[in-house]
């Protein structure tokens, strides 16, 4: 009964409000906006978002994330007209200061690594043998190797890795003259004969644990 009375009071008091109040600022206050926008696309604590094709950041190495943000900012990545997802990412990075990048890298580093769920099914055995050439840089368990500049692959969203491998193979990523590591990856990706081989190798990576 008390609740009902409260509700009634609310309605009565609501009716006494002026029909239109000054809009902005009444119920929402603008606060200082930083550059920590990542989770809108990349999901809560960077778990990745398939619907907007934004990959997992949780667990991504700081040195790799920093390099990619700098590459996006400099136009080394995300400028090829066929790199749809990279083009979408690039404007997010172009306005970042060095300080903002450091802040984002530290923030992302605070998120827990949780491996992504598999969404593709390929031939794991075929993938395993194809992966041997990947393992040289990315590690036998796709755990990554900072000394070689090769990021971890285990636990990353498989749909993202498929897109990136296809982009490397087609030269949509890694073709920029200043993309040192990307150009290595571009030539390595040619070892995968076709899209099927891409699916297979990523299916194998899905079985690995960082």
């Amino acid at each position: 009964m008390k609740k009902l009375l409260t509700a009634t009071t609310l309605i009565l008091s609501a009716l006494c409000l002026p029909a239109v109040q000054a809009a902005e600022g009444d119920v929402g206050v603008e606060a200082a906006m930083d550059d920590r926008y990542c989770t809108t696309c990349h999901g809560v604590e960077g778990i990745g978002n398939m619907a907007v094709e934004a990959p997992r950041l949780a667990g991504m190495e700081s040195w790799y994330l920093k390099r990619q943000l700098e590459n996006f900012r400099a136009g080394i990545r995300g400028t090829h007209e066929q790199d749809t997802q990279g083009i979408a990412m690039r404007p997010m990075a172009t306005k970042l200061s060095g300080e903002s990048i450091e802040d984002i890298v530290a923030w992302v580093g605070s998120w827990e690594y949780v491996p992504a769920q598999a969404t593709i099914e390929g031939d794991i055995n075929q993938g395993r043998s194809a992966f041997q050439s990947c393992a040289a840089c990315h590690g036998a368990n796709a755990e990554g190797n900072e000394a070689l500049g090769a990021p971890a692959l285990a636990g990353q969203n498989d749909w993202y890795m498929v897109t990136q491998l296809k982009n490397f193979r087609a030269g949509f990523r890694g073709a920029h003259p200043e993309d040192t590591y990307g150009s290595q990856m571009l030539s390595m990706s040619k070892a995968l004969g076709d899209d099927r081989a891409v699916i297979n190798v990523v299916s194998y990576i899905n079985t690995l644990v960082k």
Binding site: K3, A7, A23, D26, E30, A31, V44, I87
Partner: protein
């Protein structure tokens, strides 16, 4: 009656000889198209404080909260952004456009007439639920002029790129189409389908529709305005634009159908005085501190007896336990929020694509369009800016806000810098109005695809132009059913006619009706 023609046959005939727009016009007249609708009466059983978590503050969420609060439910709304309303967003002096990578703060003059409805902007007469809440919440409305015959049509391929008045274009097009239809009535196949009296009626209409002469030919019309005179002296007709020239632009498909009511784009539309967000704040001010801002949802877990929603506020994760949850977070953002929805529900959520849309506006130093006899309506431009809108309110005032681009597909504006976007709208706008660049003050742009906490405009369900597939219909039904009777998906994403406030409100009403039925059937 001999040789009767069914309504369907008649439309087919028109389709064969007059094209789609003729069918649409005729269809509306014959009652096949949506006409009036009645707002649903919501009467929820009074409730003693069941807890409801409402995710987002789009108009579906606000409608839900308002109706449930009136019935005694205990509502909490979680909004990730600093403002309520989602895609009902008005920009005016001081407003922040929180676009990722393109933060803008509006510095227009502080004047109630100077605003830009960056999202929803028009209310059709048949959107009864929106109008019902405007009435209930005392939101003052005024007429919005959607079509002005004195506005322009501009295409580099037409008239050497010089703009043509809408009325010059449409009068001529109407004339030639009528002339062709009249000629086709001489065709025996068409003629044999109609009685003599029917043919006469049709010819009479065509003569009037196209302003044809006694020989049923189009030779110009004073409907396009006078070449000279017209008041103290007899008016003279302007030169006719030849059919071949009219067909140099594909804008006819826009110019000729602006006034189709069924799709929500009628000649008489409405807008709230002072901006579309007056509706949003009418709800939000009444809901008061039930709304938590800057409170992004971080997890949604549906339980046997309710829903647990985690959210973050001031750096702290909070848990909201509720009996029911109404969720208008865009489906593509839910994909990045941990949840325990059933697989088929998640698959359906992930299927919906996010729409792209781009708008831009500036404050005009002077109401330059009024000097060109324009007092509202739309100029159509064959460029990515597509449309220029002139404010129908505050006529003869000092300044006004011009909508300088509205691209419903978004084009490539999403990737353009603010400087490039502004140059683009000025470059195309000055083909229509020579002093455009000088008149434009402080342009603002909005690419919904990149808006923080939004990342898209109207959701897109059907992948094929032909309509919804069976699979899509099934997924839609999956999302219309509450998860475990506890979690409701609302918003225009949960309707078959996205991009309209009316749809979003009706999705809320649909979910509320389901909830009410469940609550009523619970043991006392």
């Amino acid at each position: 009656m001999t040789n009767p023609v069914s309504r369907r046959e008649f439309l087919n005939l028109l389709g064969a000889y007059g094209g789609t727009s003729a069918v649409l016009r005729a269809g509306a007249a014959l009652g096949f198209m949506p006409s009036s609708s009645q707002a649903a009466e919501i009467s929820l059983r009074a409730n003693n404080g069941k807890k409801v978590a409402i995710l987002g503050t789009g108009i579906s969420a606000l409608t839900t909260a308002w109706e449930l609060t009136k019935a005694g439910y205990d509502c909490t709304l979680l909004e990730a952004s600093h403002r309520p309303g989602g895609r009902m967003f008005t920009v005016r002096a001081g407003t922040v456009i929180d676009e990722i990578g393109n933060y803008q703060r509006c510095e227009w003059d502080d004047d109630p007439h100077l605003y830009f409805n960056a999202g929803a902007a028009r209310i059709p007469s048949i959107h009864s639920s929106v109008l019902k809440y405007c009435k209930e919440l005392e939101v003052e409305l005024q007429v919005f002029v959607n079509e002005s015959k004195t506005a322009w049509v501009q295409d580099d391929a037409l008239n050497g790129g010089k703009p043509v008045r809408n009325t010059d274009y449409s009068s001529s097009m109407q004339g030639f189409v009528s002339e062709m239809l009249a000629k086709s009535l001489g065709n025996s196949e068409v003629n044999s389908s109609l009685t003599e009296s029917e043919s006469e009626t049709l010819l009479g209409m065509l003569r009037s529709f196209g302003d044809l002469n006694e020989d049923m030919l189009y030779k110009g019309s004073v409907r396009a305005g006078y070449g000279s005179g017209g008041f103290l002296d007899h008016g003279t007709k302007k030169d006719v634009i030849a059919l071949r020239d009219l067909l140099k632009t594909r804008l006819a498909r826009n110019v000729m159908v602006t006034t189709q009511e069924g799709t929500g784009s009628g000649p008489l539309l409405m807008q709230p005085v002072g901006g579309m967000d007056r509706i949003i704040y009418a709800f939000a001010n009444r809901l008061g501190n039930r709304i938590k801002f800057r409170a992004p949802v971080t997890e949604v877990m549906v339980k046997d007896d309710g829903v647990e929603v985690a959210y973050e506020q001031n750096g702290v994760t909070e848990l909201l336990k509720a009996d029911y949850c109404f969720n208008c977070i865009p489906s593509h953002l839910m994909s990045g929020i941990p949840n325990n929805f059933p697989t088929e529900y998640t698959e359906a959520l992930n299927y919906i694509r996010r729409g792209k849309a781009y708008k831009a506006a500036f404050q005009a130093k002077e109401r330059f369009w009024e000097k060109e006899n324009i007092y509202g309506g739309i100029t159509w431009v064959n460029a990515p800016i597509q449309q220029i809108w002139y404010p129908p309110h505050n006529i003869h005032g000092k300044k006004g806000v011009v909508l300088a681009a509205y691209n419903f597909g978004g084009a490539n504006y999403t990737e353009m810098s603010q400087e490039d976007r502004i140059e683009d709208l000025l470059k195309h706008g000055e083909k229509v109005h020579p002093n455009y660049r000088q008149m434009a003050e402080k342009p603002m742009t909005i690419a919904w695809h990149r808006m923080n906490h939004m990342l898209g405009c109207a959701p897109r369900w059907a992948r094929n132009r032909g309509g919804w597939s069976e699979k899509e219909e099934q997924m839609y039904e999956t999302l219309r059913q509450p998860v475990n009777g506890r979690h409701y998906l609302i918003g225009d994403q949960s309707t078959q006619h996205s991009a309209w406030m009316e749809s979003a409100i009706q999705s809320a009403h649909y979910a509320l009706a389901d909830l009410d039925q469940r609550v009523r059937s619970e043991p006392a």
